[in-house]
Amino acid sequence: MSQTQQQLTSASVEGPAGPARQNDFDPSSILRPTSLTQNRMPWWTGLAVLAVSALFGAALSSLISFNFALWFVFTAVLYVMISYAVTRAKVNRRQARDKMWKNLVYLAFIIALLPLFSVIWSVTSIGIPGLLEPGFLASDMQGIDGTTDQRSQEEGAPVLGGIRHALVGSLLITLTATFISVPIGLMTSIYLVEYARGGKLSRAITFFVDVMTGIPSIVAGLFGAAAMGWFLGVGNSLGLPLPSRSTMGITAAIALSVLMIPVVVRTTEEMLRVVPNELREASYALGVRKWRTILKVVIPTAISGIAAGVTLAIARVIGETAPILVTAGFVVSNNWNLFQGWMTALPVYIFRQFQNPTSPNFSDPSHQRAWAAALVLIIIVMGLNLTARIIATIFAPKKTGR
């Protein structure tokens, strides 16, 4: 190899400038290998290294005491180290370092995903039996007391009681919160994008929306309770036929909308901003007024993003516990009326079943119901995320059509 290279080098250096210098160094030799396949390792190298490190990882972990977590940790560490060493020995340092960082990035990604899969796995495996209990979705907790649960745990009677009232509560409260937040949030973002011209007001709105994003949910709950309490107090002193207690579904919806509005503003603002200015100008140039342009060109163009953003905002608040607990309370029976009486939401139901089992001494049935309710909640949230994606695809402006 060096023979041919030297010949080439001296030939290429030789020229009118003078006689060729012997043993000259060719700069390209540090840049590129001499054969096209030199710096490649066979495709199975990675698999082989993985197998070896899994083997040694298992051996190492069984030295201490074998379990899967330890095995995973040892395998990961060994894999990163061995593949670095092999690449460095076989190829070069640069590629070895590249490989190491690539492995570390993949590892970080896997570690980040572990909690998600762990949660899904444990909730599904523990929650399925409760979910399959007949009448779990169709009944509430009316008439379920300690003796029922005791019989279930001791004599193997079926676990009675269900989450119908919690499903109804979550549905009503979240939908009402959406109906309150979406118009307010959408109009705010329309103002920010279409009308505000970078003035003080728009900067103040942006700032306060950011502040609102950071409000702890329990504070939003207290705000909802206090606001409704004040409103009812004023209304009652005027002699209006209003309930005297502020604990009801609508209060929870108001508290949730405090959490939801900033999310809706942020996502819809983003979506309106990406609508190309050319479309607005095209509409103006046809003699269309600004509000009509916004209503008929800008919003339809951005509708997929807006709908997806709203769905994600719903998914974000449907899991809130604290604000609903302090505003709507907790009951065992079904309540369809947002404006009268206490109401249960799914997260509050889970919290109560864990924290205060129906029968303090025989808590297994309560825990089973809590896990099943958690599974239902996860299914709802995942369903909403999926819906957001489907909506985004369906409403997206059509690109083809030739």
């Binding site: 095209a282 509409s283 103006y284 140039a285 046809l286 003699g287 269309v288 402006p397 059509k398 059509g401």
Partner: protein, 259 residues
């Protein structure tokens, strides 16, 4: 249909910045007028001031008079939306509405304004406008397909059809062919010379051959330097501008010595 345009001592400002200074021009009805000049010389700004489109930028304003036939479009109490419904505009990049079908794109001027019409009226408008834009034969079988599925040149003709559909008095074109290939450009140029029979057309172009091909009169704009206002240097018959200009700057520009 079709009105003349007269600018008298027109200054266009963006905030405090004077972008175009002292334009005096008379554009005859049913003619094609080309604006040429180097980048940044204010020809697009002046074109956009002809239908008050420059006002979508904050702080934009105008001094002087701009007459459409005899009506000052910057007069007190004039609604810019009405001005824009009389003075249509075609943009540099084809911009059909992505949410609408080809048919709805042509009808956009009516639909977006909430105008009611029977289906036969709508069909008549669509066919007339698409025929007027030389696009009917290419799209008549797929009027319900999205407009964004057409080729760039077809999209631009769709935009022209959309503009023609609302029967404006004047059509402004801001470099309508700069994003198109030569064949599509030729189609648009043919279209311009046909539209000229019915409409007053003002076209901004960087392509001097195009100006020479399509226009009867040409205005040359130039700028003295960065931060200085753009000015209209010379306005004459197109043949005069290209063959026998009176101003030295024009001569240097059209002969390719700068710009």
């Amino acid at each position: 249909m079709s009105k003349s345009i007269t600018a008298k001592d027109l200054n266009v400002y963006y905030g405090d910045f004077l972008a175009v200074e002292g334009v005096n021009i008379e554009i005859a009805a049913r003619s094609v007028t080309a604006f040429i000049g180097p980048s940044g010389c204010g020809k697009t700004t002046f074109l956009r001031s002809l239908n008050r489109m420059h006002e979508v930028l904050p702080g934009a304003r105008v001094e002087g008079q701009l007459l459409l036939d005899d009506d000052d479009i910057y007069g007190p109490g004039v609604d810019p939306v009405t001005v824009r419904s009389m003075v249509g505009m075609v943009f540099q990049r084809p911009n059909p509405f992505p949410t609408m079908s080809i048919r709805d794109n042509v009808l956009a001027g009516y639909r977006l304004n909430g105008a009611r019409m029977s289906k036969s009226q709508a069909d008549g408008i669509v066919e007339g406008a698409l025929r007027g834009a030389n696009l009917w034969n290419e799209v008549k079988d797929r009027l319900d397909k999205p407009g964004s599925g057409l080729s760039g040149g077809q999209q631009q003709r769709l935009c022209i059809a959309r503009t023609v559909a609302v029967k404006p008095e004047v059509i402004l074109m801001d470099e309508p062919c700069s994003a198109l290939d030569p064949i599509s450009t030729l189609a648009i140029e043919d279209l311009i010379s046909e539209l000229q029979k019915e409409y007053t057309i003002v076209i901004v172009t960087h392509n001097m051959q195009q100006a020479a091909r399509v226009s009867q009169k040409t205005a040359f704009f130039n700028i003295a330097g960065t931060g200085k206002p753009g000015k209209m240097i010379e306005y004459a018959e197109t043949s005069t501008i290209f063959n026998n200009p009176t101003n030295q700057q024009t001569e240097r520009y059209v002969s390719g010595k700068f710009g």
